[in-house]
């Protein structure tokens, strides 16, 4: 026996999500069948609305309901600093910290030839253009991950931006707050020592 078409289609849709195979998708589909109509409607609306109501900010690459995004429109933010992140998610993390009041730029990936990502495949050109047009920006803070690809991306950006006389900085790597030196692995410790600051 085959599943009725609506269920089969729903299973197929769930399978398009990352990390979900046919078994999980089937379980989710049957769970959906048992849900309240109201919840299902809400769910469907949210799904539609992410596509319909959200766009990418034409300045920084953040996701937003209105272009430019809230952060780019906010003139009280420090217009002289741009923090460069790999993904939109990273902006949320930084904003939760509440300590950074400058602007952002989302690369949407890192340089990784193995994954077919060269300089033209991530938002580097738009960053360079932004720096050319907007003379207020004096510092670019590169906050890519501490992976070989994240480091390569940071070095690449530095090479292109520094000649324009703009300061390029990198987030410090080191011990996590509240953690004991005793339990840090050797490489973290070594990075922490290299990036030590004067007090």
């Amino acid at each position: 026996m085959q599943y009725p078409e609506p269920i089969a289609k729903l299973i197929d849709s769930y399978m398009k999500l990352p990390g979900i195979g046919s078994k999980t998708a089937t379980r989710l589909a049957f769970y959906t069948l048992d849900m309240d109509e109201e919840d299902v409607n809400g769910f469907a609306k949210s799904l539609m609305s992410t596509k319909k109501d959200l766009t990418t900010c034409s300045i920084c690459g953040n996701i937003t309901e209105q272009d430019p995004c809230e952060i780019c429109r906010d003139k009280t933010r420090d217009q002289s600093q741009v923090l460069v992140v790999e993904q939109v998610k990273d902006i949320m993390v930084m904003e939760r910290m509440r300590d950074f009041h400058g602007l952002y730029h989302v690369l949407n990936g890192v340089l990784s030839p193995i994954e077919g990502k060269g300089p033209e495949d991530i938002n580097i050109a738009s960053l360079l253009k932004r720096l050319q047009v907007n003379k207020e920006i004096h510092e670019v803070i590169v906050a890519t991950n501490a992976t070989p690809e994240g480091e390569a991306t940071a070095m690449y950006i530095a090479r292109l931006v520094k000649p324009a006389g703009i300061k390029v900085t990198r987030l410090a790597h080191g011990l996590s707050v509240g953690s004991d030196i005793e339990y840090a692995d050797e490489m973290t410790l070594s990075k922490a020592v290299q990036g030590r600051t004067e007090i």
């Binding site: 070989p148 692995d185 490489m187």
Partner: protein, 370 residues
């Protein structure tokens, strides 16, 4: 250090075994294809979280099972450390003291092993790959920094090789990124080469002493690290880094043409000399074997010096490959000092006379016979 006990679940042809070992010589005795090498392999896997004879963890799991487990307790000078390695179809989990380790580089180094198999007798004569693998496995165990640098280096090397291909195929054209990748590769490559030179110097010191003794004072063993840099460029990590960067710069066209990275630790080699003659070309088979044996025995001392503990020695079918005098030398060097596991199909000759009070395990078809 020594391995106090070990349990296997669904590992190779073992369904379930629990063993307690002697801090001395343990003999794994059995006919061919019964599971002797698999037992040594389990100890190796417990130490290094990977096998010496397959790159696929799937091969380690019993054909009738979906997951395997290796557990063991390592006794060190003042503490004992339980280790656990779980191998599943999708990956492995490594635990030290029952705590899962996020990075394998934090797991490796708890139990240090040196494996000596008949193939190792071709260390001198074999391909450069064999020697680089040997260097990386041994130094990686002694030094977690070396292991870290090596894994970063390998990732960047893959990226750089791919990028060279894409430049050559005109899929990419930005040379700034090539420069960045060269810079990164040179930085990690310099760390690796510098550490290799330092450890090889110490290894050479120990190996020369052993070789001299086996050859009754007649032969002097020396090493040469083969690398395109000038000797004075090898003086510091900075100068190695500059040297590699200059090579990448000068040979860009050649690398683009060949679509691959032509310089760096992944291309270097180690050569052995006896009385200033290259053993791989001018040495007799006996000299080559003596050199290989000397290097293996030297590792024991180097590891003791670097980590403060003697490693565990795994000898897979090597006794039968060595003549009486070399067997005698090997056994006297390790007896009463290093916990040893040796596999053999029969115990006779020198080994029977020399090894006092071994613990013998009779192995048949994935089971231990008492």
């Amino acid at each position: 250090m020594y391995l106090r006990d070990m349990s296997l679940r669904h590992f190779r042809n073992y369904e379930s075994v629990d063993m307690t070992f002697k801090n001395g010589i343990n003999i794994l005795l059995g006919k061919n294809a019964q599971g002797k090498t698999s037992l040594l392999e389990a100890i190796y896997v417990l130490a290094l979280a990977r096998s010496h004879r397959t790159s696929s963890d799937r091969d380690l799991i019993n054909w009738d099972a979906t997951a395997a487990q290796v557990l063991g307790c390592v006794q060190k000078q003042s503490t004992s450390v339980p280790l656990e390695l779980d191998l599943g179809k999708t990956g492995k989990r490594a635990k030290v003291n029952h705590l899962e380790q996020a990075k394998l580089s934090q797991y490796i180094g708890q139990l240090n092993v040196i494996l000596f198999a008949p193939e190792d007798l071709s260390l001198v004569k074999g391909s450069p790959q064999v020697r680089r693998r040997f260097i990386d496995m041994e130094f990686g165990q002694m030094n977690s920094r070396y292991l870290y640098n090596l894994s970063q280096y390998r990732t960047i090397l893959k990226q750089r090789n791919r990028y060279l291909k894409e430049l050559r195929n005109h899929k990419q054209s930005d040379l700034v990124l090539l420069d960045v990748l060269s810079d990164q590769l040179a930085a990690f490559g310099a760390e690796i080469i510098f550490e290799r030179l330092k450890l090889l110097k110490e290894l050479e010191h120990w190996a020369a002493a052993v070789h001299k003794e086996i050859s009754q004072g007649k032969e002097r063993l020396t090493f040469k690290y083969v690398n395109p840099l000038e000797p004075e460029q090898l003086a510091s990590t900075d100068s190695i880094y500059e040297g590699l960067k200059a090579l990448f710069e000068q040979k860009r066209e050649k690398e683009l043409f060949q679509r691959t990275t032509l310089f760096g630790p992944h291309r270097d080699d180690l050569q052995f000399f006896v009385n200033d003659k290259n053993v791989s070309t001018f040495g007799s088979q006996g000299q080559q074997r003596t050199a290989a044996l000397s290097v293996k025995l030297a590792e024991i001392n180097l590891m003791k010096e670097e980590t403060g503990e003697y490693p565990v020695l795994l000898l897979d079918d090597v006794l039968s490959e060595l003549d009486d005098s070399r067997q005698t030398h090997l056994l006297t060097a390790i007896q009463d000092k290093v916990q040893t596991f040796l596999t053999t199909t029969s115990l006779s000759g020198v080994a029977r006379q020399l090894i006092h009070d071994p613990k013998v395990f009779h192995i048949e078809n994935g089971k231990l016979l008492e």
